[in-house]
Amino acid sequence: MALKIERAASLILEAGQSGDLRAALQAVSEATTPDGAPRYSVKVCRTLNRLVVCRAYAVSALQLCHLVNIAEACALRRGAYEHLLMGSERATGAGFRGWITSAVTSRGWRRAGCDISREGVVVQYGDAVFNVGFARMPLLAAMFEFLCGTVGYASLDEEFCKMLQSPASDEAVRRTANGIERLLYAYLRENLPSVQMQGKFQILLDFAKFDTTAPELVVDDTIILEFWRQKSLDEEAGNFRLFRSAFDAYMAFLLALEVATDREAVGRARSVGADREADEIDVAALLENADSMDAWTSPLLVLQDASTESVKFLSKAEMSVLDRLMQHGPRSHRFPWSLARAEVFGDAQARLTQAVRRKVDEMELDTLINCEDAEFYQEWRDRLAKLAIHVNNTLRASLHVVIGSDELGGENEPTDLRVGHPNRMAAQVDDVTENLPEHGRLEEAREDSRRAFNRIARRGFEDDALHDPGRAIEFEAGAGALAAIYDQIHSFLSVLDRVGNDGTDLASQFAYDREVFSEQFSLIYGARA
């Protein structure tokens, strides 16, 4: 459930995060395999970011120490854990399983107490048993790489070497984990200060109190706009100069409230928190819990992982258009005008900000302040609708590979494509075949998906995809994401159209908003000519 702020916008807070810290995280996210694919998945990189930001690295540090112990116990070669953690291939659970299994098969364990299970490696320390899951190992490798870039390899290795003098000691492992935590804590104290977001939460809360006496918070399009109009000129309120910042802040605010009102999850996070007496909460655990429930997660994250591999479902430009809508998902349906404003006038403001930095002449500045080149809401709406069609076509094309792989896998000829595949795909079958008699539906769906596939000339949509089981898995994952994307666009457009029909239409709303934004821009950036 990470909130991702639009790249072109200023950030809500530049909280003194150092260049070194950013560079260390970037080094992890940019690590590649020999053929140029990312070594770590987007999910692993996000999780690492979260552990760092929430300072919730204690458990991972301990797991890393156990993994180092395991590596040294199964490989004869010097520098075993470095070779395990710095491998050049994509960091996956299966990859780590393969490395460890291969080492044990050829040389056996160098000492007793370790065993490979289905999920991971089990290490016995006297009466204590510790399990490191294979699925966890990519994150631990990312964390190791991050630690090398921050606290330094020499300091880290010093700790590990002390631990490995007593490899069968649980106490030694815990001591090492504590040592690593201390190193990282000291580093983050300098490079990621705990800033209370300049009281932003309180500012957002106060503004959302509908009535100071009523026990209710209200956030709607009007309140978000009014908030921005006031706070964009108020430097003491923090950096709400950009409309997008105000919008994203309120989305984060509402999400935070949603997460915090899950009593059961909060109770669990409190019980494992660092300091129960001080009412500390393990925020990372709370957010992790929210991610793992049915809460909305941007389907673009799936495509960002898959498309950087071998299939280009959507281009970067297309994903950029959808970013904000997918990030907030169903919540954005409650704020259709705010989303429209964030996209259209947010874009205008980004150009204006760049122009101010470049110190353009007054005429150009006035054009931008007046939002003369702003995209009409109708145009933006139509662009989204067109993208929805493209997403749908790509989804249908993906069906072609998925159906083909079902057959490749020796499955009984599927009589119903709606079984075992994402709902939208099932709906797609219905859409295409609804007027056909049942026996013709499968063939027509196949034919439709084959036609759609042949019309796409993008990476991954080649005939050899039909014979590659690995590629079929990617297509299935991608198809699920595309289905969710299509549904979101479609639902949002329905909301936008309904709001337009019930109240102010798109053209009128745009005209009004343009006036409001122009006026505000002139206050923020300079007088209108």
Binding site: L13, V53, V218, L257
Partner: protein, 183 residues
């Protein structure tokens, strides 16, 4: 269209604020990572590749190593970890250029060329004939490093020809240097 929420109790608001702060920090960090050009930061992965790949050349990394003592310390430590042979500095009594360097399983000797007086052979003898080391690294003062890719051994012997006034030879014959050989 709106979102209306009963005003939560103070404790829930406190939790929400912590979650909000985490979300915003996370987003800030992610966005800045996406846009960062990485500055002059050289990743550990790059160092690892430099150490483990015999033929690796990385002018930018080498420039950074010449300026950054912590990076050199990492290089030395990692080199020591992944090497198979380590020849430590000689005892304090040794001075001047040495004729050979010895470690268990490994000996390095130096022979001047008769054909060219300004050239010297570096001859590495390994007890384990099955080894095929790919590189040699020698560390002198302040963790400064010289590296050499090694040719294939012949019956446990590796032979190199270097200029007699070269830095690498001076480092190898320096009794205070530490030598690591891959394996």
């Amino acid at each position: 269209m709106s979102e209306r929420i009963q005003l939560p109790d103070d404790y829930t608001l406190k939790v929400a604020e912590q979650v909000f702060n985490a979300l915003v920090s996370e987003a800030t960090l992610s966005a800045s990572v996406d846009h960062s050009d990485g500055g002059k930061h050289l990743s550990f992965r790059r160092l690892y590749r430099y150490v483990t790949d015999a033929r690796s050349e990385d002018a930018e990394l080498e420039a950074a190593l010449s300026e950054n003592a912590a990076l050199r310390a990492d290089l030395r430590r990692l080199t020591a970890k992944v090497s198979s042979y380590q020849i430590s500095e000689l005892a304090a009594a040794a001075s001047g250029l040495v004729a050979q360097r010895v470690a268990p399983g490994c000996r390095i000797r130096f022979e001047p060329s008769r054909a060219e007086v300004a050239q010297t052979y570096v001859i590495i003898s390994l007890d384990d004939l099955g080894r095929h080391p790919r590189w040699l690294a020698v560390f002198v003062d302040d963790d400064r490093c010289r590296r050499l890719a090694l040719p294939e051994p012949r019956e446990g012997l590796i032979q190199l020809l270097v200029d007699s006034d070269s830095d690498i030879l001076a480092a190898l014959r320096n009794p205070k240097s530490e030598i690591f050989i891959d394996g």
